[in-house]
């Protein structure tokens, strides 16, 4: 997203916090395809994804007043809300993930794609490079959790590790990524 795009979203977020529905509609137009992409990747069922994206925007509407433009990026803030809505739905449903992690390399390739000129792609390139440096199991744990909403328990079962170990590994891996990215705030 360009800087202008970011700035526009910040303004729209302010309008939404004030209860402005036209602002909300514009915010939805600018962000829904992106948020739906994250939700859809976590939830296989289209009906569940539709429900989760609705829930996400209801939460965005209600929590817009909490958005702090001095520290948060609007799209990243909304992405967390959308992914959490999808994860909530996933955890509620009886359906467990049985998917393979066939998407891992695809995701890494997408991150490393420098043909896209946007600033985001460069940052993604940095994250991709840092992820490449992580041991495959740990990298896959992070990718499966972030992209597909896997829980610690699911990761524990898949990677044959105790749940507490998964928690420790996830945190260590993330801290290593932060250091690799330069530990910027």
């Amino acid at each position: 997203l360009s800087l202008e795009g970011q700035a526009e979203l910040v303004v729209l977020m302010g309008r939404v916090a004030a209860g402005d529905r036209e602002g909300f509609r514009l915010l939805y137009q600018r962000s829904s395809a992106k948020l739906y992409a994250s939700v859809r990747r976590i939830l296989r069922s289209e009906a569940a994804a539709e429900d989760a994206v609705q829930e996400a925007f209801v939460r965005i509407w209600r929590r817009a007043g909490d958005f702090d433009a001095t520290i948060a990026s609007p799209i990243a803030w909304m992405t967390t809300i959308a992914r959490h809505s999808a994860i909530d739905s996933l955890r509620r449903s009886a359906e467990r993930i049985s998917a393979s992690s066939a998407g891992d390399q695809e995701i890494l390739d997408g991150l490393a794609d420098d043909s896209a000129p946007a600033a985001g792609a460069l940052a993604g390139g940095g994250l991709a490079r840092c992820l490449e440096g992580v041991e495959p199991d740990k990298r896959n744990m992070v990718l499966l959790a972030y992209c597909y909403g896997w829980s610690r328990e699911e990761l524990a079962s898949r990677f044959n590790r105790p749940v507490a170990t998964v928690k420790t590994l996830l945190r260590r891996t993330l801290i290593a990524l932060k250091e690799c990215l330069g530990g910027r705030d």
Binding site: E50, Q54, R62, A76, T80, L111, A145
Partner: protein
């Protein structure tokens, strides 16, 4: 100790964004997010760091009707109206059919009475009403819930409020944060069935469904009329 605390905050923020906290941990993290600026900042940093992973998902617009459904949900549960007086709807809702005693007189009411399951949560209010309208239009239906009497009645007000041929109007109650529950098809002469009782903050909506109503208990058609249930006293 300060170092350990910082590590803990950092790890918690990272896992919060990653999505691997369990239910109670996440709720605690959300509360902390609201109260602790340092935690908020740590979360924001993690959101930004990991955002390229979200950006790697192929963009895809939701359905065309999604935004209207979001607005309907927001209207169904405005934050100010969601409170202790929201009576939870019971899961089992059976279909009922509306009685139309006055088919010829379109302006006259299409009236219906539902038998409400008495075993609902007691509410301080005993009567609630929802006026169902199309956006910006005149009232089309009015639904009255009388918890003390155990009845719900729905009345047609507008002549135009008739489903097209081959379609049915289906009534739904939408509890804040829950999926819509069918209250049956607005169709014919009489019905009797238990139905969920409702309190303030619940929205009633009428959708246009295939003839005979939604086959799977979920709304598919567009919302034609909707209105929020409010206390009458």
């Amino acid at each position: 100790v300060a170092e350990t605390d910082r590590d803990e905050i950092e790890g918690l923020a990272a896992e919060y964004v990653l999505g691997t906290l369990d239910d109670s941990e996440r709720r605690a993290a959300e509360a902390r997010y609201a109260a602790d600026p340092a935690f908020r900042a740590a979360v924001s940093d993690w959101e930004r760091r990991l955002q390229p992973l979200a950006d790697s998902a192929r963009e895809q617009p939701p359905q065309a009707a999604t935004f209207d459904r979001i607005l309907a949900r927001i209207d169904a549960a405005p934050p100010a109206a969601t409170g202790a007086n929201v009576v939870s709807l019971r899961r089992e809702v059976r279909r009922w059919r509306i009685s139309t005693g006055v088919l010829g007189a379109m302006a006259a009411a299409l009236a219906a009475i539902l038998v409400v399951d008495r075993a609902t949560v007691p509410a301080p209010q005993t009567e609630f009403v929802a006026v169902l309208t199309a956006e910006g239009a005149k009232p089309a239906f009015v639904a009255t819930v009388n918890i003390a009497a155990g009845t719900v009645s729905i009345r047609q007000l507008a002549e135009a409020a008739v489903a097209p041929a081959d379609r049915s109007f289906e009534l739904w109650s939408i509890e804040p944060g829950a999926t819509p529950k069918s209250l049956g098809i607005i169709e014919q002469a009489s019905y009797t069935a238990p139905v969920a009782a409702s309190g303030a903050g619940v929205t009633f909506a009428i959708t246009e469904e295939q003839a005979g109503g939604s086959p799977d208990g979920k709304p598919h058609g567009p919302v034609v009329f909707s209105g929020e249930l409010v206390a009458t006293e």
